[in-house]
Symmetry: C2
Subunit: 242 residues, 2 copies
């Protein structure tokens, strides 16, 4: 049967890919993806056919992957992080209804919440929420409600897509919403370029984070009421008595 | 400097480990962990020294790892999934204050939420919360509040530790709390033994899940209001127009 595998390549560094992800890319004929991610893996998988589509062409990219698989090629569609967290695996399964002759498999990867947490320390040891600040496909009111609920329930929060050219003040707005429930001194952290060149972690209070400009390559972590700084690391305790 | 690396080994299968995790285990002298996880990796890393402590001896296990590193050995402490999600990296950083001569590094892994989602389909494509039902270290009232807030905000929810011998009715209680906000027909899924022998995925409605017995090797996924079943897979759409 024709085969399409959706592969999360992790944060970016080759060695943060799972062994299965690397094997899948080594064994496939064609690698399909967003231009930036294809550039990240290209050097490690020489001799493959690479097909790219730009951002905002996700539906076209998925159809392209199925069409290539329909030709009998073994196709891998790559996503950064994990394909199942704001990634392409959902859209692939939806569009897959049009291509019943293609078998779909999904290979897990390290999403930014997991990869970034390791860089910062251990901010997600206890219950947490993952929320995207992008209102491209989600009404902002829904995002606000989720931020507020997560903050009220004292969850740690990971923010994906905290900023873009058109959404420069969204992180500020998100912090203001969470400040209704979370202490201004709540420990927060950001990681830029997780697992890539220029990786950088920074710690803030929630009050400071509110006025910190971030870019689209940043993942933001907001602690719970117990989160603390230990030797420069952001640590959320689970409750063990030491 | 003496070195202790905390390594998430992923759900269990060797190929779901990151390349860096496998390299770390290949290059270390001693592998420390909970007995069950050490048994999962043992065959892949022959010639290593293996040290284990049973469940509920987490503090002792961390001290043991530091003491071995203090002797000049290159030590890896393994956790299932990711070390930063209900794992040992937080406790290691806390106890690390007592062992300033040991450098700690953390290597990310595929946590059960990510690994299980790939098996079920794509349940976590949009915003979600990760909540543990274990009240061993967390007051049940706090867990209830988090379940209720996540359900009210229409987050998908992943439940870790949904059951144990002493907590047989906790999943039922959790479903009842979420049913105050989520439709009884909300698509839910469970995955047993993710990435291990006997892996099994099942789909339910939230009303059905309430009366489904699960064990401690099960990870539970509760969809949001948009989650649907496509060809037997649990899929949460992100909002793309196909």
């Amino acid at each position: 049967m024709n085969k399409l595998t959706v592969v999360g390549i992790g944060p970016g560094a080759y060695e943060l890919m799972t062994i299965k992800a690397a094997e899948t890319l080594r064994n496939c004929d064609v690698i399909v993806g967003y231009t930036v991610y294809v550039d990240l893996v290209k050097e490690h998988f020489p001799g493959k056919e690479f097909l790219t589509t730009p951002m905002k062409k996700e539906v076209e990219r998925c159809r392209l992957a199925f069409e290539e698989a329909g030709k009998g090629k073994n196709v891998a569609m790559i996503c950064s992080g994990d394909a199942g967290v704001y990634g392409m695996s959902g859209l692939i399964l939806e569009i897959g209804q049009e291509f019943p002759e293609v078998a779909v498999e999904i290979v897990s990867g390290v999403t930014a919440a997991i990869g970034g947490a390791s860089v910062l320390g251990a901010p997600l040891i206890h219950d947490f929420a993952v929320i995207s600040l992008s209102d491209l496909l989600t009404p902002w009111e829904k995002i606000e409600k989720r931020l507020s609920a997560a903050a009220e329930a004292d969850l740690s929060v990971v923010l994906y897509n905290p900023s873009s050219k058109k959404r420069k003040d969204y992180l500020k707005k998100a912090c203001e919403i969470m400040l209704a429930w979370k202490d201004p001194n709540t420990v927060c952290g950001t990681v830029v370029n997780i697992g890539r060149e220029g990786e950088q972690a920074s710690l803030y209070t929630l009050a400071e984070l509110k006025d910190t400009p971030v870019d689209m390559f940043t993942t933001v972590f907001v602690g719970n009421s117990q989160t603390k700084v230990i030797d420069g690391k952001m640590v959320t305790p689970r409750g063990y008595i030491i």
